[in-house]
Symmetry: C2
């Protein structure tokens, strides 16, 4: 069986990444999503089958010792991490799996999983990014400025990624991500075994 593709997806706050990924999973339900392990307390809107797996600090530290995480970080006193096992299970079962992660996490994953493919989601313009960051309208302007500066610094690292998807039209952008998965599976290195099998039957 052909392996699936582990796909890192990053993008600055305000690029519309969450909505884009929702459209991708609706349109291509065969694509899996990597669930993060977190130690932060569960909020009202969180469910166990959602984006997070809630673990204790002790459990998380045990996972770290056992090298069970592809990346992790600590943010305002809580751990966040990407468990390795569900990703390798998906890939070995031939399923593509999306790892939604920031630029620093992406760099850690590339170290541990060099076969990962990475996509950086871009806003269609700086104006649209600014619009989306201020559009929420609930934040003080210095918070917006801080997010914008953060977004610009992340875009400055887009060169670490294999692919760039511009999130202008959601359907087009979702199709582009799926095309990237299709093309990656068509790469020669992922079809070497098939070719050798055909030649062995000659």
């Amino acid at each position: 069986m052909n392996k699936g593709i582990p796909l890192i997806v990053s993008g600055p706050s305000g690029c519309g990444k969450d909505t884009l990924l929702r459209v991708l999973f609706e349109k291509y339900p065969q694509v899996k999503f990597s669930i993060s392990a977190v130690t932060r307390p569960k909020r009202g809107s969180d469910t166990e089958d959602g984006k997070y797996r809630f673990v204790t600090r002790e459990q998380f530290e045990q996972m770290l010792r056992d090298d069970e995480l592809l990346e992790h970080n600590e943010y305002v006193g809580n751990y966040y991490g990407t468990p390795r096992q569900p990703v390798s299970d998906a890939v070995n079962n031939g399923s593509d799996i999306v790892l939604e992660i920031d630029v620093n996490g992406a760099a850690q994953i590339r170290e541990k999983l060099p076969e990962a493919v990475s996509v950086f989601i871009m806003p269609p313009s700086m104006d649209s990014l600014r619009g989306r960051l201020t559009g929420r309208g609930t934040e003080a302007s210095e918070v917006v400025e801080q997010r914008l500066a953060q977004a610009i610094s992340e875009i400055g690292r887009a060169g670490e990624y294999d692919y760039i998807v511009i999130n202008d039209d959601l359907q087009t952008a979702a199709d582009e991500i799926y095309s990237i998965l299709t093309a990656e599976k068509a790469k020669y290195k992922n079809n070497k075994n098939f070719i050798n099998e055909v030649l062995n039957n000659a």
Copy 2:
């Protein structure tokens, strides 16, 4: 404007490449086809707007001297070649263009056009290849054996290609080729300018 992708497509006799490309151009009429220059006499079934541009031997040799060909070869006394200009025009106008060519021609094109992307079309199995080569039923068995040997030797060079598309289901295979074009345009290197423009507006 983003550039188009020059796409080399090769595949052994019996892999169903011609039918596959017909489906591709029907489904994605925006993809262009590179017309070969040939010195062989026109046959009844040939038309000027078809796969060939008919030129004299003198014209062909002038094109060679002017380095106007991306590749060429001589076969039973006739020249065959790929004119460079229509390919660069298409690419510069943002159009993808397919160059249907054998493994030797593909190697020549990669030298002159390193940005070309290449796809090798594979039959789904050795049995299907054998079936297609004998299925025509009009050739003597030694001709079939010779074609089979030729096909096997070409498949042995599949590793020179970026991508492998298995021609099992025609629609799926055509969609895969189109996905490869989409993914190639999404590569970071083809979006560097866009990212710099966005950052310059920050």
